[in-house]
């Protein structure tokens, strides 16, 4: 039995050689440090070390599971992520298709380049400007008033109820262009002959998009969907820390900022690690479910 297996491996030794550098790096740089997860069960102090810090059992887990604020934080995180999935995710695909459909080469290149520029501006810089523009006499309110879309200035950041939308839309603004890159790469693999054939059949633009472009990138859409589901519990810490204020905190505190406020900024690594283990476990479960679901729909899993 073992001999047969060995023979099989030997037969595909070239493939095995190709995979092992990656596996080795993964084990060294990702698995070995995982012993650090044990601090979730300790009251860890850097000076006492991993072996010298006192064990406390599940105390760190109890600390957040018993905190009623944590559930509000969890709700915020899920809500913002779901909104991002519902708005940001389709918008990226839409934008990618629209860029792909642009006929003028130069204009297309300009659009593509410009659309991903905001990705390079850090939230610290961008957030500062955003807050000014979203203010009572800021650009957005002035524009909306001028258009008679609103009767009086809206407090975008000062009202907790508006925060989720601000968070989602500002991220779409910043990262939608960047998010198109992978889809555009996938579209460049679509055989142009298919479009020619469809034109001859008399298909319109929208029909071609629905019948050729979208199916052509379905695999990548499924991949990104699954990965996004797996990332639901991690929202954008940099964004929250800059857009958060006392008036919207009830809606803006997410898991990452909660960990930052309650743990990391106080040097409480154990607490932060305990929450990390919790969110990671949930994320893996979500990912497995999503992968299973795409297998049902897409006839093969992305992994």
């Amino acid at each position: 039995m073992i001999k047969m297996r060995f023979k099989k491996i030997l037969k595909q030794w070239q493939l095995q050689v190709m995979i092992w550098p990656g596996i080795l790096l993964l084990v060294v740089f990702a698995f070995i440090p995982m012993f650090g997860l044990m601090i979730a069960f300790q009251r860890y102090h850097p000076l006492d070390g991993f072996l010298g810090s006192p064990a406390v059992g599940l105390e760190n887990f109890a600390a957040f599971l018993k905190d009623e604020d944590f559930y509000r934080v969890l709700t915020n995180t899920l809500a913002i992520s779901l909104l991002k999935l519902a708005i940001g995710f389709p918008f990226e695909i839409f934008l990618a298709i629209m860029i792909y459909e642009l006929k003028m080469g130069a204009f297309k290149r300009v659009v593509q380049t410009v659309s991903y520029l905001p990705h390079f501006i850090s939230w610290v810089v961008l957030g500062g400007m955003l807050i000014t523009w979203l203010g009572g006499d800021g650009l957005l309110n002035s524009a909306l008033l001028w258009l008679h879309a609103i009767k009086e200035p809206v407090s975008f950041l000062g009202k907790a109820d508006n925060y989720w939308l601000v968070a989602v839309l500002s991220e779409v603004w910043k990262d939608a262009g960047w998010g198109t890159i992978l889809y555009l790469a996938a579209m460049s693999g679509i055989d142009p002959g298919l479009y020619e054939a469809a034109t001859i059949d008399g298909a319109g633009r929208v029909q071609k998009i629905m019948r050729i472009t979208l199916p052509g990138i379905a695999g990548i859409i499924a991949l990104m969907f699954v990965l996004r589901i797996g990332g639901m519990l991690g929202a954008n810490l940099d964004q929250v820390l800059i857009l958060q204020n006392p008036l919207n905190m009830t809606r803006s505190e997410i898991i990452d900022s909660y960990v930052y406020h309650m743990g990391l900024s106080k040097g409480d690594f154990s607490f932060a690690t305990a929450i990390g283990i919790f969110t990671s476990a949930v994320s893996v479960i979500l990912l497995v479910i999503a992968n299973f679901a795409t297998k049902k729909i897409n006839d093969r899993p992305i992994f």
Binding site: F120, S188, G189
Partner: protein, 290 residues
Amino acid sequence: MKLTRSEKVFDVCNIVFMCFFLAIILFPLFNIIVLSFNDGLDAIKGGVFLWPRKFTLKNYQTILKDTTVYRAFAVTAAKTLIGIAGHLFITGIAGYAMSKPYLIGRGMFIKMGIITMYFSGGMIPTFLLIKALGLTNTFWVYIVPTLFSFYDMIILMNFFRNIPISMEESAEIDGANFFQVFLKIIFPLSMPVFATIALFHGVYQWNDFFTAKLYVTDKELFPIQYYLYQVLTSQAAASTAKAGVYVAKEFTTKSIQLATMVVTTLPIILIYPFLQKYFISGMLVGGVKE
């Protein structure tokens, strides 16, 4: 080719949409550039939007006369280029092997990879590891830990799986081994996705300052983004100092910060147009149709 009426309507709508989209993206970016050319003290007063009120080149001069900037640029360029090459190779071959469903051990590797996507040991254990490996304060600390990314491998793998098997088979019949197939068939056919991963990883390498912050104390090895990070945090310096004696410090204005950002970001942005040619539709697949 003659366009039908509805095609024209579609194009016009698309162009209008894109112009609108460009405008809301470009305005803030333009504002950043304008502010970086405005006198820093004057900019405090606000109201500078579309054109500098007090034009100055001083912000840029301040940065560019600092000699540490050039060295930091060199470090960043080196780590970006070497990082991309290594990353594409290691992650690429792994992705190719993983795209074969009959790879022995594949299921286990996937499980391991998924675990590492979400569980990490954290900062301190990783530091101890990096230190034990002797990577601290070396250039290789930027490269080695990032050679392989499971996430990028999954993306590559999914692209490889779309390549018609017949292409490979014909090569195999010609006596090519897996390496040759990868280099001669897979790599050229997957230029768009390799360009994408190169861009993703290049941008990561370019922007990463945290590695330097943790593992590097040798100033000669600091990348340019660490410089930017210090400039961006230096405003905190003024407020950290508690009341005691008033120490007049050089004031890092917002304008200097933005100018630094422009200088440190521009090179990586300029790379993109060069990569764009790999995204031209159907360039390759069309040519290899049976």
